[in-house]
Amino acid sequence: MSVTFNLPDLGEGLPEAEIVSWHVKEGQRVEVDQPLLSVETAKAVVDVPSPYSGNIVRLHAKTGDTVQTGRPLVDFDLPSQVTKATDTSAPAQANQGMVVGHMATRNEELVDHAIVGRGRRAYRDRDRVRAAPAVRMLAKRLGVELSTCSATGRHGLVSVDDVLARANFGKSQQRSPAVPGLTDADKLRGARKAMAQSMSLSRDEIAMCTIFDDADIDRWQDRGDISIRLVRAIVAGIKAEPALNAWFDPTGPSRKLMEQMHLAIAVDTNDGLIVPVLRDVTSQSAAQLRAQLDDIKQRTRARTIAPEEMRDYTFTLSNFGTVAGRYATPLVVPPTVAILGAGKLQRDVVAGAKTPEIHVRLPLSLTFDHRCVTGGEALRFLAAVINDLQLPN
């Protein structure tokens, strides 16, 4: 009779393994405990022995392939009587007896490290759904997407009842209507997918509040380097009000004021929004900042920027006005707490001492996370930014 041996969990909750080499061939006869193949998991390279004595009918994967835990590895043809009791790996389900913790598939568990705008918390969107391993397993068995369950358990955990409720909920009531006829080619990838995820996260988590104002830069002595002036103004803003250069963790809730300032700069590219980071902006001269900025922008557009260069920022600047648009409500990405948007330069009629005058003004939009930043803090920050921008040089 024929049985299939599925890849077992070779560590403690490992989702997959890569095949390093096969020690057997199709058609070969093997004895129980004879080495079948070597695989590499996140933890170890291990030899997997044969669970049976019998003939190998089929190898389901090649050297170099990655196999998900619980998926078919080898088909055996066995002499008929020997399968019964030792055969726990043949039925796909029985393997789960030895699964420790949450056996996520790659899609659920691993994070695209080129993701934009994630801040420090690479695992954030997995954290967002909090549930005990047993509940995750239940959801998986019932085919329920955990993120669609309400979380009524203690500490915001998804409970067994939430999963069961969702399972009985019926397919008709999903959150967004399904778009018919989608294929794999329509799936978002890379920066665009990352944007979809980080913006959903932002929408779900943050208590946004946006303030609009303008900096009158008419007294600037030359045309000035707007980007670098904005960086300098943000540094001045943070000196006046450190609360906006912070990371927030709602589970504490806890707030960490950051000593250094790493400034993410939103850059528009054909592939989507990319947010590289200027490091330690408080300790650099204007010329140094300009050089760093040119460098990262150039490499961002060439897509040679490394994922590490897009992580661990503490504040964001979106200089969207180079294209169009006066004000916006830019979105803050956790765990950071604020973002400043700069709109298109305007020639505005303003009230002079006695007569109307025309001044060049820079429109500003500051969004902050009101769970963590007070209105007063945001306003003091913005006032300091404007003061600095309004200096002649």
């Binding site: 077992p8 933890k43 170890a44 030792t86 726990t88 039925p91």
Partner: protein, 361 residues
């Protein structure tokens, strides 16, 4: 200035790595049957060990901590203890467990996540498996205290690893044992590694045996790959404890020839040459050579033993795999005589979860 205290640590070895007696052997070593029994116990543990690793690799067992290379330490301790003594194990000491009567099926059940693997049919009074390292020393000290209060001539034995000796728990337990002169032996199995931390990084002390000195407990080092020396040394420590002489720290020096557990890959942090050297002094070799030189063991006899143990292991595997699953209640039932409400609630929750589409085996 004058010296007010000094210490000395003695090292005991009876057999060279090649099986040559180095000095006069203890009396029990004159009895070939007794030595054969110890050899068989080591071979039995090793046979089981290899199968357990394979079961994990084929999805039939959870994480498992092999004992490969430390069989002499474990069997030597088991052979020196009396049935009525009390043992507190960590996760690796099947050689002692088997000697004391724990069944292979029970060991498989434990690593298969079944609570019944903790409920040894024999001996009833030993502590169950306990993965938190060093806690065994306090558990055993408690048992030793009970023996002392009840004036029973029994001893407690606690296992701990080289890594475990860095835990505060160990010092607390030794302090208590020293202060109350408890009938206990702390067996430190120094297998040179605590997962990926080598002994050189673990401590600045020359020996682990000396860690008892500050608690007023004598310490002794023994070649942990020499089962005769381990048994001898352990017997003396136990006899002393049983006669009111107080505790001892026994450091058995051995080597972890396997990965830390089946979830580990030691080749990532340990060099092959070191492991190859350790294989040359592994514990089966020297006892095999001694027994061969006495004409009571040969290749054929060893193969026959091995075949018998393989059959025994296979039967245990069958029994384990055909044991019906426990209900989820089992993981709550043995924690408290009167469980607190939050655990009752969890138990209820687990029952409801277990009732939803979960395959039974």
């Amino acid at each position: 200035m004058r010296t007010v205290a000094e210490f000395r640590i003695e090292y005991l070895r009876h057999l060279s790595p090649q099986g040559r007696p180095l000095e006069e052997l203890p009396a029990f070593a004159a009895d070939n049957d007794e030595l054969l029994k110890m050899f068989a116990a080591m071979l039995r543990a090793r046979t089981f060990d290899a199968k357990a690793v394979n079961l994990q690799r084929t999805g039939k067992l959870g994480t498992y901590a092999p004992c490969l290379g430390q069989e002499a330490a474990h069997v030597g301790v088991g052979a020196a203890m009396r049935p009525e003594d009390c043992l507190a194990i960590v996760y690796r000491e099947i050689g002692t467990l088997f000697w004391r009567g724990v069944s292979m099926t029970e060991v498989l059940l434990y690593w298969g996540g079944d609570e019944r693997g903790n409920n040894f049919a024999v001996p009833r009074h030993d502590f169950p498996w306990c993965v938190p390292i060093a806690t065994q020393t306090l558990h055993a000290a408690g048992a030793a205290m009970a023996f002392k209060i009840r004036k029973e001539p029994r001893c407690a034995v606690a296992y701990i690893g080289d890594g475990g000796t860095s835990e505060g728990t160990f010092y607390e337990a030794m302090n208590l044992a020293g202060a109350r002169q408890l009938p206990i032996v702390f067996v430190v199995v120094n297998n040179k590694w605590a997962i990926s931390v080598p002994i050189e990084e673990q401590t600045a002390a020359e020996t682990l045996a000396q860690k008892g000195i500050a608690a007023g407990i004598p310490g002794v080092q023994v070649d942990g790959n020499d089962v005769i020396a381990v048994r001898d040394c352990m017997s003396r420590a136990l006899e002393k404890a049983r006669n009111g002489g107080g505790p001892t720290v026994v450091e058995a020096i051995s080597y972890r020839l396997s990965d830390h557990t089946t979830a580990d890959d030691a080749s990532r942090y340990r060099n092959e040459a070191e492991v190859a050297e350790a294989w040359k002094v592994e514990p089966m070799i020297r006892l095999r050579k001694l027994l061969e030189s006495r004409g009571v063991l040969d290749e054929a006899r060893e193969q026959a033993m091995k075949a018998e143990f393989t059959r025994e292991v296979d039967a245990a595997v069958q029994e384990y795999l055909s044991t019906p699953r426990q209900s989820t209640d089992a993981m709550f039932d043995h924690l408290y005589a009167n469980p607190p409400p939050y655990l009752e609630a969890q138990k209820e929750l687990a029952r409801r979860y277990a009732g939803t589409g979960r395959p039974s085996h």
